[in-house]
Amino acid sequence: MNFEPVVLFFVLGVIAGLLRSDLKIPSSIYEALSIFILLAIGLKGGVELAKHNVGDLVLDAMVVIFVGALIPLVAFPVLRFIGRMSRADSASIAAHYGSVSVVTFSVGITLLGHEMLDFEGYLIVFLVFLEIPALVLGVIMARHGQGEVRWGKLLHEVFFGKSIYLLAGGLLIGFIAGSEGIKPLDKLFFDLFKGVLALFLLEMGLVASMRIAALREYGAFLAGFAVLMPIFSATLGTLTGWMLGLSVGGTFLLATLYASASYIAAPAAMRIAVPEANPALSIGASLGMTFPFNIFVGIPLYLWMAKFIHATGG
C-alpha cells in the first residue's frame, strides 16, 4: 500500500482544529520549521545538481518551466469564465496553482523512499524555477488593462521572498559544498527531515482546518476546481516527464510538482501585488482542499499514473 505515516500528522492537526483543541504551534516554531524544510530541500537539490553537468539540464529545465507556465494560463480562464470569479481572484488563484508546494513535494519524495524508487535529484532545481513564471503571470493577468503594476516590489517579493530565497540559497550552498562538504550537516538537515516534516504537517493540519470552513462559503465550483485542477496538472506533468525520459520516480515527482499549489510563497506575493484579491479564496482552495487531496489521493494516483505510462507508453 502507498501509505505514509507522516500524513497522519496532518490528520491529527485537522482534527485538533475542528475539535477546537487548545493545541497550538507557536508562530515562531512554524517559521523555524518552514526555514528548515526550505533549506533542507534546497541543499538536497544542490547536492544532486553537483553530480550533473548543469549544461545538460538547461533544455529539460526550459521544457519543464514552459509547460508549467501553461497551468496558470489554463486555470485563469476556467476561474474567470466558468467560475465567474473576479479578474483579481482568478489571477491570484491561477498563480497559486501555477506555483508549487514544497511540503507536497516532500511528501512525494518520502513516498518514493518508502517504495524504494529512485528519482532524478535535479528535479528539485525545477521546483525553484517553477514559482517565478506562475507569480509573474498571475500579476500580468490581474493587471491586464487595469492600471500599472508595481513590478519592482513584485519581483523583489518573488525573488527575495523567503521561500525562493532559501530554496535557491540552499541549492547554491549544496552545489558548492557537494555531497562530501555537506556531510557534517546531514545529521540535521537530512536525517531529521522526515520528523520535521511530520511536525510541519501537524501545523498545516491545524491551519487547514480553519481554511476548510472559509472554503465552504464559496460553494461547489471552487471545491471542484481544487480537486480537478491538480489532476489536470499532474497529467501534464506525467506526459512531460515521460517525454523527457525521466524515470518512474522522476515522472511522478514532476506530476506532483505541477499538481501542487502554493500556500507560502504565492499568498505573500499576491497579497502585495494583487491586493484586491480575496486571500481566503486562494488559500482556502490551495491549503484547505488541494493540499489534503494531493497528499491522500493525488500522490498515490500520480504514482500510479507514472507507473502506468512507463509500463504502457514506453
Binding site: 508562530s27 512554524y30 518552514s34 491545524l206 505573500a268 491586493p275 484586491e276
Partner: protein, 96 residues
C-alpha cells in the same frame, strides 16, 4: 517637569504590510514609531496570527495632530479598501 499634549495614532493592520507602511510613515514625516504583534477579528474576518502572513501588527505613532491626520488620510486612501485596517487617535501627555 513640563508635559506636552500630543496625539497617539494607533494603526491595526495586516502584518504583510509592515515594510510598506514603515516606508510610508517615514516619508510622511514621522520621527519614530513603535510596532508590536497582534491578532484579532474585524470586518475582514479572524486573523489568528498562526499563519505566517496571517497576523496583525499594531503601529503606534506619537506626533502632532497634523502628522497623525496626514498619515491616517494616506493609509485610508491607499489601503483601506483591500486590507484589514483600523486607525484611531488618542490624546496623550508626553512625559519626556
Amino acid at each position: 517637569m513640563s508635559t506636552q499634549s500630543m496625539l497617539l495614532l494607533t494603526i491595526l493592520t495586516e502584518a504583510v504590510l509592515e515594510d510598506i507602511l514603515v516606508d510610508e510613515i517615514t516619508a510622511l514625516g514621522a520621527k519614530g514609531y513603535t510596532i508590536s504583534e497582534a491578532r484579532g477579528r474585524g470586518t475582514h474576518g479572524v486573523r489568528t496570527g498562526k499563519w505566517s502572513a496571517g497576523g496583525n501588527i499594531r503601529i503606534e505613532i506619537l506626533g502632532d495632530s497634523e502628522l497623525c491626520t496626514r498619515i491616517a488620510d494616506r493609509l485610508q486612501a491607499n489601503y483601506e479598501r483591500d486590507y484589514g485596517l483600523l486607525m484611531f487617535t488618542s490624546a496623550v501627555e508626553l512625559q519626556n
